[in-house]
Amino acid sequence: SSLFVYDHKITLKTCGTTTTLLCLQLLFDTINTELGWDVCKRIESTGKYFPYKVFYSRRCFMFPLKQRSIHKNWSNEVDYLNTFFSCGRSYLVGRNDESNHWNLYVTETNKSMVQKAKSEDPDETLEILMTGLDHERAKQFIRKRGLCEQQTAEKSEEDEGHMLGFNITKSTKLDLVYENNIKAAFHHDAFAFTPCGYSANMMLDEEYYYTLHVTPEKGWSYASFESNVPVAKISQGKQDNVQVLNHVLQVFQPNDFCVTFFTKDDLKESYSRYMQIGEQVPGYSRRDRIIYDLEDYQLLYMRFERSL
């Protein structure tokens, strides 16, 4: 799991049986107390909060009944979100009768909060959710502890979980997903879990991130990749998101995966390239392609399966 905190926004991505939404009240109360932000006070007339924008999404769970509290059921999550936020809408994306659809909740943009003119904001988010990882590929994310104790001792500030996470990042080349042609600063933090599993946060050019989470267990193997890195800027136009997708797929070689791509501007070249992606993923067949016009964002959802 990962949390990214910027000056004005947060992104919280949590795995397992976490109870993500149950932190909302304390989150808003803490910000109100610590920072005195009016946006973290409930509006008197509605009794709800109305921040600039809220997104909540997840792929459908593999074991929904093992989830806790409101997270057992999408409609309960939406009901809970609606007790906090004004003008929320929910979407079930993909086939209702399939066990691999994707759910999204998004609030209306609070445009009254925009005070100052913005510079060009390349806001885009790419998420790749993969299941049925190739067995040999999945094994890369299983590391036994105790094998690098001496190495760890030599680096007294570090512990074995982070050391093994670093080694996995290097051996899988997950630090090389983007062509960093502008020589932007690169920061990395990864951890190898016991008995297995891997999480990593990678930061590029101080303001962008990509994050990976892997549960390699046979039978329910899963990996996710999420990124807000503007690929054209970082690569100086030498790479696009289709190449990023293919790089990630090479590492995991899943049986199936879904891709979501959010962007503020549907005219962007990267969005146009993604619209044509079906023929450019070797070894996979596209099963669904769904486009949503979400007020000021465009959402593209696609699902692929390995070709027979």
């Binding site: 905190v5 000056d7 004005h8 947060i10 932190c23 924008k53 997104f55 512990d159 946060n201 549960t215």
Partner: protein, 90 residues
């Protein structure tokens, strides 16, 4: 590409949690993704107490408390010029 100096540049690290964490019960893959934009841009943040304070001014201990309700613990934090990246348990 990542270099070994990245192993020693954490803003925060919980060595005890790192050594003892067992994720054997973390059976579920798909994550829950919550993104809240309190303001459209950092420039829009007000100064209710005369000085501009942002989400990054909230100390790690407060985030630890908030994340307890999520059932997550903080393994480590890496900071850049404009963001703090928390690596969490689960």
């Amino acid at each position: 590409t990542v270099t070994e100096k990245e192993l020693t540049n954490h803003t925060y690290i919980d060595h005890e949690l790192s050594a003892n964490l067992d994720s054997a019960e973390a059976f579920e893959g798909p994550e829950k993704l919550l993104e809240i934009w309190f303001y459209a841009d950092a420039q829009d943040i007000p100064e209710p107490r005369g000085t501009k304070k942002t989400l990054r001014d909230i100390e790690v201990a407060k985030w630890v408390e908030i994340l307890k309700l999520v059932k997550c613990e903080v393994l480590s934090v890496r900071s850049t010029a404009v963001m703090d990246a928390f690596l969490l348990s689960e």
